[in-house]
């Protein structure tokens, strides 16, 4: 494979997390399923990047690969200039202190047999070599930071609601003072009013602590509010990348447009308008072809979509992979083949 322009381009920015042409496949030989297909994305220090897509789009797999819970098939993952592509979580040592995670299910992610204090001190005692006394003080600080009462420390997870448990999970992630927190659908299991509280908490913590987030979600509205940039994923491939307001407000890729339209709005007339942008299935999803993964559901599908995988094209501040935006054509001064990492 000859190097593409983006591979030979010298790196100008120091990214916190760099994911380069990542591919993750499950299964063996003919029964292989590629969950993540040639995904390139970066997260800068203090930046919040949203990773959106429907179920099965590979967004959680990317998170798992970054965390070292799933082996990648090819590509590279770098964290602070350390190659962590093939380092499983157990062998990451001190690095895990900088790279923490909040998972989706607050009921499953806390050990029911351990008190909150035990759960919170575990990463402290492992990564920070604290004394028990220091750890106890830190636990109180963490509980305060995530808005839980100090007496929560000696109780078991069963005593808390879903939202409170997610606060505990967030406190655990913060315990080792990480630089990047992978948020794997942290609010999807919560009811709406609780979602808002947890999202506000995440936004506040980011402002206070200068955290970077890789926020995995399927709800565009949630991602828009919390994130600087959004990466839209479909069947393992990046469809569109750009500033959060741009991607959610003025989607370029037909899939992003469909995703935006899928979230209902309160205005009846506006909702009718949006419904027109909905996808129509033109062929079964199981049909595999070498072209655009969205071709089977795209309202603008043409022959070329089924034959050729669209190149990534820079349009304004966004980058989109769609034949509607051919490289070299379209908006003359902003469009062109992507030769920089986004």
């Amino acid at each position: 494979m000859t190097p593409t322009p983006e591979e030979v381009q010298p790196r100008t920015d120091a990214w916190l997390l760099e994911i380069d042409h990542l591919r993750v496949s499950y299964g063996r030989r003919r029964r292989t399923h590629t969950a993540v297909d040639d995904v390139t994305l970066n997260v800068g220090a203090g930046e919040a990047v949203g990773l959106v897509g429907e179920s099965g789009s590979g967004k959680s797999t990317i998170g798992r690969a970054v965390l070292g819970l799933t082996a990648s098939s090819s590509g590279r993952i770098r964290f602070e200039d350390t190659d962590i592509t093939s380092v499983p979580a157990e062998r990451r040592g001190a690095l895990t202190a900088d790279l923490q995670v909040v998972f989706q299910d607050p009921y499953g992610s806390l050990n029911p047999a351990r008190t909150i204090s035990q759960t919170l001190t575990e990463p402290l005692l492992t990564h920070r070599a604290m004394t028990a006394e220091q750890a106890r003080a830190r636990v109180q600080g963490l509980l305060d930071q995530v808005g839980l009462p100090a007496d929560a420390a000696n109780r078991y997870p069963a005593a808390f609601s879903g939202g409170q448990r997610q606060r505990i999970a967030i406190a655990r992630a913060l315990a080792s003072n990480p630089k990047l927190v992978i948020c794997d659908e942290p609010v999807s299991a919560l009811d709406l009013s609780t979602q808002a509280q947890i999202l506000n908490l995440l936004a506040d913590l980011r402002a206070d602590l200068g955290l970077a987030y890789l926020f995995i979600g399927h709800n565009l509205a949630v991602v828009r509010n919390l994130c600087d940039r959004v990466v839209v994923l479909y069947r393992g491939q990046v469809m569109e990348t750009g500033p959060a307001a741009q991607v959610t407000g003025h989607p370029l890729h037909p899939y992003t447009a469909a995703l935006v339209a899928a979230a209902p709005v309160a205005d009846v007339a506006a909702q009718r308008e949006r419904r027109l942008a909905r996808v129509t299935v033109t062929e079964p999803l199981t049909v595999a072809h070498s072209g655009c993964p969205f071709a089977g559901r795209c309202p603008h599908v043409e022959d070329i979509c089924r034959q050729q995988r669209p190149a990534r094209v820079k349009v304004g501040e966004s980058v989109v992979a769609c034949h509607l935006f051919p490289s070299g054509k379209g908006d003359s001064h902003t469009s062109g083949s992507v030769d920089e990492k986004v």
């Binding site: 819970l69 157990e90 995670v101 998972f103 992610s109 047999a113 575990e122 078991y156 999970a169």
Partner: protein, 314 residues
């Protein structure tokens, strides 16, 4: 937790009464005249009548039963019809033998079964795992007396490293005590290791698959700690239950194993009691076994309460 123990002990009283009653009346179903068994074929009718009078056998079974109950309440288990020895004394000499055997076997089955279970759970789908699962099925299917005879042949007759029969009390010589129990314990433990291993394997595997273990993995907690603190801790309840269940089975297994290794335990007493129509001895041994089962089940419940904070409150 103390109140739970008290409640369970009180609940066990009717159970023990049922066992005591069944042990008496099942003996009544056995054909023939007890005195004839005791005195042998050459006895005269007068001798048998005399014995019947001594044992109170001329009374109706209900009367006999009620008087055993009355004696039980005053702490008297009666006397053996054959040796005239007090059943209480008989049990107190036989109990330590069976207790040693059962406790050691429980420790061995729990330790070996759990260790192998963890080992296999960490290597699910591997060849080692498949072989262990196959072996677990195999050892479970082999009867303990068959293993016992094989062990005696191999270690006592071929290699002469361990005694084939006999028992040495713990306070006489701990070393010899252990030597006299090694083969019986292995014979008794091998079969229950199978189900305990399978239970431990699946419980640990399930616990390691849980979201919170994935989370602590991602947080960089060392593997050893993941397995022991998070995996085993939450897998412990089903393992403890399996161990308790199999300990009850062990008690039954002692009957055959004690016979083969000629250990003077409860099982031997029970067998000779049944064969000799010795109703008071059978009743006494069955009662002790029933108390043992109640204690094992209570211990399992208390342990699960310790392991699971949720069950503790109930």
């Amino acid at each position: 937790m103390g109140s739970l123990a008290l409640r369970r002990a009180a609940g066990a009283v009717p159970l023990l009464l049922v066992v005591w009653t069944a042990a008496f009346f099942l003996q009544q179903l056995i054909h023939g005249d007890p005195a004839a068994y005791v005195l042998g074929n050459t006895s005269t009718a007068a001798q048998r009548d005399q014995l019947d009078a001594a044992f109170g056998l001329h009374r109706s079974p209900l009367d006999q039963y009620l008087s055993t109950c009355a004696n039980l309440l005053s702490g008297d288990l009666g006397r053996s019809w054959i040796t005239s020895e007090s059943v209480g004394r008989l049990l107190s000499t036989a109990l330590p033998v069976t207790l040693s055997l059962a406790l050691l076997s429980t420790l061995v089955t729990a330790a070996v079964g759990t260790a192998l279970g963890i080992w296999a759970a960490l290597r699910r789908g591997s060849r080692v795992d498949r072989i262990l699962q196959l072996a677990a099925g195999a050892v479970t299917a082999v009867p303990n007396y068959w293993i016992a005879v094989g062990l005696v042949y191999l270690f006592a007759i071929q290699y002469r490293v361990l005694p084939a029969t006999g028992y040495v009390q713990l306070n006489q010589s701990p070393g010899q005590w252990l030597q006299s129990l090694i083969l019986p314990v292995i014979a008794l433990s091998l079969a229950p290791i199978g189900p305990i291993f399978l239970q431990a394997r699946s419980a640990v595997a399930e616990a390691l698959d849980a979201d919170y273990v994935r989370t602590v993995r991602a947080l960089g907690i060392p593997r050893r700690r993941q397995v022991l603190k998070h995996g085993l801790r939450n897998a412990a309840a089903p393992i403890v239950t399996a161990v308790g269940f199999n300990t009850v089975g062990l008690l039954a297994g002692t009957v055959a194993v004690e016979q083969i290794f000629n250990l003077p335990g409860l099982g031997s007493q029970l067998l000779s009691g049944v064969l000799g129509h010795d109703v008071p001895v059978v009743q006494g041994v069955v009662l002790v076994f029933a108390v043992g089962v109640v204690i094992v089940n209570l211990a399992v419940d208390l342990l699960i309460g310790v392991l699971n904070p949720k069950a503790r409150r109930a």
